[in-house]
């Protein structure tokens, strides 16, 4: 039997892992797509997606977006105590919505560039969650 203290530590560890994973993934998405669309349009798209998902996953609102890029510092601080599955769902929703917006603009052109990078990382997040 796992003691409650151990359980908390494990949960925190998974939350950190999921946060780092999605943080890196979003940075990577920013890098790839900003080269295709430019920072001005990408900032607009990220802001829209965060706003859209904001009601369901309020923690996403603490993500900072500007033409210089994205910062998840504050979000990471705020999410340390959240359930990893909740973090995973929020980020998954955000990424899905970003893909939806990218498709509206350029059909499959952006998705084709992103899929090879994004899919393995989403799978990795799912694996971390399922191991709990």
């Amino acid at each position: 039997m796992v003691s409650p203290g151990k359980e908390d530590k494990k949960e925190k560890w998974s939350a950190d892992l999921v946060l780092d994973l999605y943080s890196n993934l979003l940075m990577e998405i920013w890098e790839i797509v900003s080269a295709l669309l430019g920072e001005t349009i990408l900032e607009l798209i990220f802001t829209l997606a965060i706003k859209k998902l904001g009601d369901k996953y309020p923690f996403l609102a603490s993500m900072k977006v500007s033409e210089e890029g994205i910062s998840l510092q504050e979000l990471k601080e705020n999410c340390r105590t959240m359930a990893p599955i909740e973090i995973h769902r929020g980020f998954q929703g955000l990424i899905n919505h970003l893909f939806h917006l990218f498709s509206a603009l350029a059909e499959g052109v952006i998705s084709r560039e992103l899929f090879p990078k994004v899919l393995p990382k989403v799978r990795e997040a799912e694996r971390i969650i399922s191991q709990r």
């Binding site: 607009l44 059909e107 499959g108």
Partner: protein, 321 residues
């Protein structure tokens, strides 16, 4: 779609065929409640419809508020943008596209799109090039918008939307030069609302502003295209009538006087009647030697009209100088 935007679109459109292989280039531009689509003339109507639907959908998704296709005033302008005329199959349908918002300073003023009747016609490199073009276009359009709004502030009176005094002075300078040089007629008509202070004092300034706006629009609608109507200050307006002799300008002035007299102004569900006094000066009839003198003569004639009991038109009388 304003002249500047058309120029930018044409210039971008003319260069695109050197960079991309596409069936049509479209620009959707938002100006108040109007949407303008600028597109290839070779596009069949059904293809244009699909492009419109797609671009409005992108604008809706990315914009602050959704746009209802059935509620917008859409103006489609077609131009020959490609160097070579390409005839599209009339049955062609939209198979692939790249659509980018024209985004600048956090706002979206429209979008641009490359469209094709072939599936998967564009790749990542096309998108990269096209986004650079979109960025440049958005920045240039924003610059033009800002320039035209500064220009508007500089020449229009913010309350009545008539030209302001500063523009009037400039315009009069040009017209006087022209008249002095060619000997053509030039009339100045100065209009002052009678007992305007009473409106402000009894009904309040917002109602006074309403009267000013209504008389301003009445003046604008009573003159010819080449005439200039400006707010001179307070409740005074001034009209420059090029090529108008004393007879013609007196006719216009009398028509304005009668129209104001007969037009009841709706104020708070009540109606009030207003009148105006008008003074006229003319070149060469009154032998003014400068624009300042022409203005002074019109002002003196207006003073006569006021002194004579108001609600009347007076022509400058050199004998009363």
């Amino acid at each position: 779609m304003s002249f500047e935007i058309r120029e930018i679109v044409e210039s971008a459109g003319a260069n695109l065929p050197n960079l991309f292989d596409f069936a049509s280039f479209g620009v959707l531009w938002k100006e108040g409640p109007h949407l303008y689509l600028y597109q290839e003339e070779s596009c069949p109507p059904s293809f244009t419809q699909e492009v419109v639907k797609n671009m409005i959908s992108v604008l809706s998704i990315l914009g602050e508020e959704p746009i209802d296709v059935n509620q917008v005033n859409l103006h489609v302008e077609k131009r020959k943008l490609k160097s070579k005329q390409i005839f599209m199959d009339p049955a062609a349908t939209l198979k692939s596209h790249l659509t980018l918002p024209l985004a600048a300073e956090g706002g979206i003023s429209g979008c641009i799109s490359l469209n094709s009747d072939r599936p998967n016609a564009f790749d990542a490199q096309d998108l990269q090039f096209f986004s650079v073009i979109g960025y440049q276009m958005a920045a240039t359009l924003k610059h033009f918008q800002r320039f035209s709004s500064i220009k508007n502030i500089a020449i229009y009176d913010t309350l009545t939307n008539l030209y302001n005094r500063r523009y009037f002075e400039e315009r009069l300078g040009v017209e006087v030069q022209k008249a002095f040089h060619t000997g053509a007629f030039l009339s100045l008509v100065m209009v002052d609302i009678d007992y305007f202070k009473r409106v402000n004092d009894t009904l309040g300034h917002p109602m006074g502003d309403k009267v000013l706006c209504e008389i301003g629009s009445l003046l604008k609608n009573s003159v010819r295209k080449k005439d200039t109507v400006a707010r001179y200050g307070g409740e005074e307006f001034i009209l420059i009538l090029p090529d108008a002799n004393l007879e013609a300008s007196s006719m216009i002035a009398e028509r304005i006087r009668r129209m104001v007299e007969k037009n009841p102004f709706e104020i708070d569900q009540a109606q009030i009647n207003m009148t105006v006094s008008i003074g006229i000066s003319n070149f060469p009839s009154h032998q003014a030697r400068s624009k300042e003198e022409l203005v002074k003569m019109a002002d003196q004639a207006l003073y006569e009209a006021k002194g004579g009991g108001r609600n009347r038109v007076c022509v400058f009388d050199p004998a009363k100088r």
